[in-house]
């Protein structure tokens, strides 16, 4: 593929912090549902589970298979300064397009403009786009709505972790992985996990075990119908706009109904 990295880099810059109005100016008149874009794969799991290392190792193999790959790595934004350290940059010198993005105001392990960034990558000729979420323990349902396949990573360790995650991220996974498979406890964790979710792949970026099996398991998954993806795209904009309006609104002396109506009326006013 011929990729203008400079141009794509700049386009993603514009979209990373685009306001709702800017998003509409750039993407507003494109069809919401693109049907034949690159396949999207999401990787999620608790902090320190080894998402970046695993993605790095998998990406290297993927490129050897001849796949044109882009990876979006989301890192947390500091709530204090609004800044971020995007330190998880994958260490691969192979030909993968890696882009680090801060989470900004998003609190679901993703980033405000994720649908916009993904749309930009969709049109850039990649075969696959991978998304690495912020390290999250629970409530990471957003990623499922944006990608075809969700890979959930679990570290070896106590079974309590699995119990805690049962009601959270395990449910969003299509493929389940126990990382750091070279360490003690990984196999036991895998069998505990398998009792809950079915198949589990044990991987290690140290000795390379399970990496090919994991790629095969991912390839075994189909595409997700992207109706929900479109809904998420719209929902994201409406939520952000409502949040912007609420930040400016003085609701202290209003009833719940008055405040709700105030926001809805303002939203309606914007399209008249």
């Amino acid at each position: 593929m011929t990729l203008n990295r400079r141009e794509l880099g700049r386009r993603l810059n514009t979209l990373t912090d685009a306001s709702v109005a800017e998003v509409l100016a750039v993407r507003g008149d494109e069809p919401l549902t693109a049907t034949d874009g690159p396949r999207r794969i999401g990787f999620t799991g608790p902090p320190g589970v080894g998402k970046s290392s695993l993605i790095g190792a998998l990406a290297r193999r993927r490129v050897e298979q001849g796949v044109d790959l882009a990876v979006l790595c989301i890192d947390p934004t500091s709530p204090v300064s609004g800044g971020s350290i995007l330190g998880d940059r994958i260490r691969i010198d192979s030909d993968v397009y890696v882009r680090s993005v801060p989470s900004r105001q998003a609190n679901d392990g993703l980033t405000d403009n994720l649908p916009d960034l993904l749309a930009a990558l969709d049109g850039s000729g990649f075969d696959e786009v991978w998304v690495e979420t912020v390290g999250v323990g629970q409530a990471a349902y957003g990623i499922r709505r944006c990608v075809d396949t969700v890979v959930v990573l679990v570290p070896p360790g106590s079974g309590d972790t699995v119990q805690a995650m049962k009601a959270g991220i395990l449910e969003v996974g299509d493929v389940h992985v126990v990382t750091k498979g070279d360490r003690p406890g990984a196999e036991q964790m895998a069998s505990e996990l398998a009792a809950i979710v079915g198949g589990v792949v044990v991987t290690s970026t140290v000795d390379g075990r399970g990496l090919d099996d994991l790629l095969a398991a991912i390839d075994h998954q189909g595409r997700r119908p992207n109706g929900d993806r479109s809904r998420y795209d719209v929902e994201r904009l409406i939520t952000r706009r409502a949040r912007e309006l609420l930040r400016k609104a003085d609701v202290a002396d209003l009833t719940l109904r008055q405040a709700y109506h105030h926001i809805i009326r303002t939203l309606e006013g914007e399209i008249q």
């Binding site: 300064s81 800044g83 940059r89 397009y97």
Partner: protein, 150 residues
Amino acid sequence: MSPSGSEPRPPATAGVDLRRKRILIAKPGLDGHDVGAKVIALALRDAGADVIYTGLRRSADYIARVAVDEGVDAVGLSILSGSHVDLVAQTREALRAAEADDVVLFVGGTIPAQDHEPLRALGVADVFTAEDRLDDVVRRVARHLVAERL
């Protein structure tokens, strides 16, 4: 993670706002010490910047490629090995080859005073050493990146 519905508080360094600025902190060459690079990265983060860190021993070509892919406004090279003039020249050339001449280049590390001018001649916007106070470094970086706001 940011509590939903609240804007981030103003940056810690008084009068400096690097929000929405993307800065790559990179270590070219062979020295293996990155405490200074990490301290600078955190200070810039505290001023609101999005800071990308490459890790140790990166080639000039790799640094230029990350700068382009990540769409950064500036690259800060941390060099303690003494070969700063060569490494800066290589990085500048790699950025030029990647059509990223507009990326502002900073250098920090053990840089003798007599080398500051030669580095500036190579297109370095500012040179920082251990003598410089952290808030002063952040302020000088901001001067080059947010001049239009001052």
